[in-house]
Symmetry: C2
Subunit: 311 residues, 2 copies
């Protein structure tokens, strides 16, 4: 699994930073990409990657500000001509999204050749998609803005060949049958499969924030605790906490402070204002704790199993 | 005056060709740009030019297909932060545009800090803007698609110093007063200014087509006759006239054939399908008559006075 930032900028695009879009690449696990947000020119960014729009089956929109959605109509229209024919797609996002897309497609005469579902989500919803449960949590912004916590389903542990050999079962086709069943019989005895498997493999957890002020509620912190990857905005990087608060955004030191009592594998800082120059960003990057990254467009981060324990 | 193609592609963007947008640069004449169409990532294209969004005071939308309008909300929103504060902007386009922009700005919480007027236009309208009359003509596409003929206002010819010297007036401050008036007095005699000026300077004419089939109506051809620049789509470049007709588009040889009995300075071919490769385009370009150009993104064409006579 891999997390890719397609657009890392805030508000206005620059030559280097497009507005917000991310890809959660679960192709190895489910042959699918999950797209989060769709800033303008998302489809142009995708042209410079190996991402196949047809394999995007779920889109999560954090909030409806233009820098997070103006690329959605173009992406959806083009996907129809990029191998997406007949391949269903579901968009999850705040109320208002369905009406806007309907009107946009109606006036522009766009007809999609694949089934599109739009699901308007709310605070504390839990969405099930292939191999993930996605927890939705309202953040603190000037319009409804959501955190999406993607929790990969746990996997049953592997069979332990030593234990199976202990009761006389050598590796062979029987293993597959045992693995599928809760109980199995051998030589007249009945066994529970769980006594012969290793511990469950915990699914990975990726917490992606929409625009927000820093949030200190314990219930929220507990929800994102032990994330393998946290994606958080920091529109302000230079200590302007008050200004960040006034504009319903975050400042980087407050973000780091706020997360210091929870565990995580990596923290990806996004939604960087275009007013910061490379020199400043490079200096700042050197001072950040290990595992905290200032992202850029096309930034890629592999999501390892239990990466929070590798910290 | 100069015409710049910001997006020369059809339907889907490619790495090289964005979807449709053009700039008519009238900065030398009126300190303004006129934007025609607004494909997605228009604002990203502008970042690579010297164009100031604040100086765009008029936008003309040929038709509402996504590849011509999906960049409009982003451009309008960003213009507010790019020096456009308080500087009015008017958009001319087909019915439906105002409602779509209203809903788009409403759901995305966008507030512009400059006055925006949206004027929905129709067949045979004539719009007056600074230094231009713009004639609107319905084309032949599967939704309402317009031709805009930008006719620069004629200018009064220059004063002829030889004629003025003939009645005893030497060059001096009086010349400016004479030029402003229809009649003037000198040594007790009354003269008509027009008897002392050269012929009127004909304004330039730029005819920009939205997507269309080739149109043979004499009234249409007469409207675009003697254009300094004609901008016409040719989604098909390889003789597929029937297919072009079926999809309400044009094929290049039909375009050239259709325009062979009118005068024009230059013909800019746009809306090129991304399926054509550079090799094919280069070969085709060599075979085209002088003055006919296959355009690309960032293609620039100076618009000279009376350029149709320089042919």
């Amino acid at each position: 699994m891999q997390f890719t930032v397609l657009g890392s900028g805030a508000g206005l695009p620059s030559k280097k930073r497009h507005t917000q879009s991310y890809i959660l690449d679960a192709v190895d696990e489910t042959n699918q990409y999950i797209l989060i947000d769709a800033g303008e020119a998302l489809q142009h960014r995708i042209l410079h990657t190996s991402i196949k729009p047809s394999k995007v089956r779920s889109i999560f929109i954090t909030h409806l500000h233009g820098d997070h959605i103006y690329g959605l109509p173009g992406f959806l229209s083009s996907r129809a001509h990029q191998g997406g024919e007949d391949l269903p797609l579901t968009i999850y996002g705040p109320k208002g999204l369905a009406n806007w897309l309907d009107i946009t497609f109606e006036i522009s005469g766009s007809r999609l050749n694949y089934p599109l579902s739009i699901v308007e989500v709310g605070h504390k919803d839990c969405i099930e998609i292939d191999n993930f449960k996605v927890h939705v949590r309202l953040l603190d912004h000037n319009i409804d803005s959501f955190l999406y916590v993607f929790k990969e389903n746990d996997k049953t542990g592997a069979l332990d060949p030593d234990k199976l050999k202990g009761i006389g079962i050598e590796p062979g086709p029987l293993y597959a049958e045992i693995k599928k069943a809760d109980v199995f019989e051998f030589n007249g005895e009945t066994y529970r499969t769980s006594d012969f498997t290793g511990p469950d493999i915990t699914g990975r957890k990726i917490s992606v924030h929409g625009d927000t002020r820093v949030m200190a509620e314990p219930e929220y912190l507990s929800l994102i605790d032990r994330s393998d990857v946290i994606v958080h905005e920091a529109t302000y990087l230079d200590g302007e906490q008050e200004k960040a608060h006034r504009y319903f955004h975050s400042e980087i030191t407050s973000v780091l402070d706020n997360l210091k009592n929870i565990d995580y594998g990596a923290l990806l800082i996004t939604h960087l204002s275009n007013r910061y120059e490379d020199g400043f960003l490079n200096e700042l990057a050197k001072e950040l704790p290990s595992g905290v990254h200032l992202t850029h467009d096309f930034f890629e981060h592999p999501i390892l199993r239990n990466s929070q324990e590798n910290k």
